[in-house]
Symmetry: C2
Subunit: 228 residues, 2 copies
């Protein structure tokens, strides 16, 4: 029995390749674990059946027989422990976990804030005036992230779950001048996304978008100029 994850069958174009099941697919590909996917149409994630697996009504989830798990960070660390994405010794494990939290709790929040201001709340009058302050917070975090990486390939001796999550967060900014200001970070992202496991994970997520936009969402996206 393969583990089963959940993913969406449709998201707006700007979210394609960014939905968080990608991080879990990438970890599964890195450790060579085949998996199955249960796709949800938009709205299904908020129904009680899915909330019993994911209290916050989000994807991804992870099921391995009776064992279930949510939060992509926790799922990635769990999968990492089955392969060589997480060192076996407590110190090495702690260091991979440190970069996992740095990615999700320190670097990602201002990047998600930018997404709120430029996408989800693009129609709110306060969004545009906030952007310079948000960009300044992102710039500061990126400079610090680049400083610590230096010219190394990965944050620790070998590619770990911490690098996987940091690269998954940083690549949200691919093509953004904020990331281009740090060539070593751009190279770090390119080094991660060139991994065959990442390429297979991305292709699999993209191939899963076979569903339809809910009409109200499609209308809103068109009105905001965010539809393809």
């Amino acid at each position: 029995m393969n583990p089963v994850i959940t993913a969406y069958d449709w998201v707006p174009d700007f979210a394609k390749g960014q939905v968080r099941d990608l991080r879990v697919r990438w970890a599964l590909e890195e450790v060579g674990q085949p998996y199955d996917v249960r796709y949800l149409s938009q709205g299904e994630q908020k129904r009680p059946e899915h909330r019993s697996l994911q209290p916050y009504g989000q994807v991804p989830t992870y099921e391995e027989g009776d064992f279930t798990l949510f939060e992509s960070g926790a799922i990635v660390l769990h999968i990492a422990g089955k392969g060589d994405l997480l060192p076996a010794d407590p110190a090495g494990r702690a260091h991979a976990t440190e970069w996992a939290f740095a990615a999700l709790n320190t670097v990602e929040p201002p990047i998600m804030d930018q997404a709120i201001a430029t996408l989800f709340e693009i129609d709110k009058p306060w969004s545009k005036p906030r952007l310079p302050a948000i960009e300044q917070r992102i710039a500061e975090r990126l400079a610090e992230t680049a400083d610590r990486l230096g010219t190394r390939d990965w944050y620790r001796a070998a590619f770990s779950a911490g690098d996987l999550l940091m690269i998954a967060v940083l690549r949200i900014l691919e093509g953004d001048p904020l990331l281009a200001a740090h060539p070593t970070l751009e190279t770090y992202v390119a080094r991660g996304t060139a991994r065959p496991a990442f390429q297979r994970a991305l292709a699999a997520q993209m191939a899963g978008f076979t569903g339809q936009a809910p009409p109200a969402m499609q209308a809103w996206l068109e009105k905001q100029g965010l539809a393809a």
Copy 2:
């Protein structure tokens, strides 16, 4: 040799009892591990000496001989593994980690957003108009967090690092009507903060604020009505 953590010798009144070294102190108290504290005055956290331990110029950090660690979530999980805050089996460990990420990556971001709008960016024109949307995001997360807790004491069979971090996040809202709308969550927070280990951790953090406000920061706080 006791492990050494870092903490601030001064923060604004609104942050006293909330600085993230509290989470680490609480975990150390739970597992019965004595520790030492190196205090930083405001500004010191951004100097190269401290950034060598914490690339983002924040507290806390954790040092145990040559082993060093940053990110309070990672430090708490590391300490938890030394006592009974983290189950020894992979499934139990994953479930405690799941709630750690839920606390820090799903529940805390909108709460920090409220803090940005009401404290750090209180003088920005966009802050007040954003509040209703932020409060709605918090309300949704709290309702989901309460639904999953139900009438249980803790999220899993025993108090874990996941509960510790979730309670540390939820108590930011103590006295806020958003939290009061969920009596079971208020009780959950009270159950956690009544633990002797929490009480010792809080008293220790409060006792450490023996420093002075930088004059420019004090002037800004007074201008915003945020000084004591």
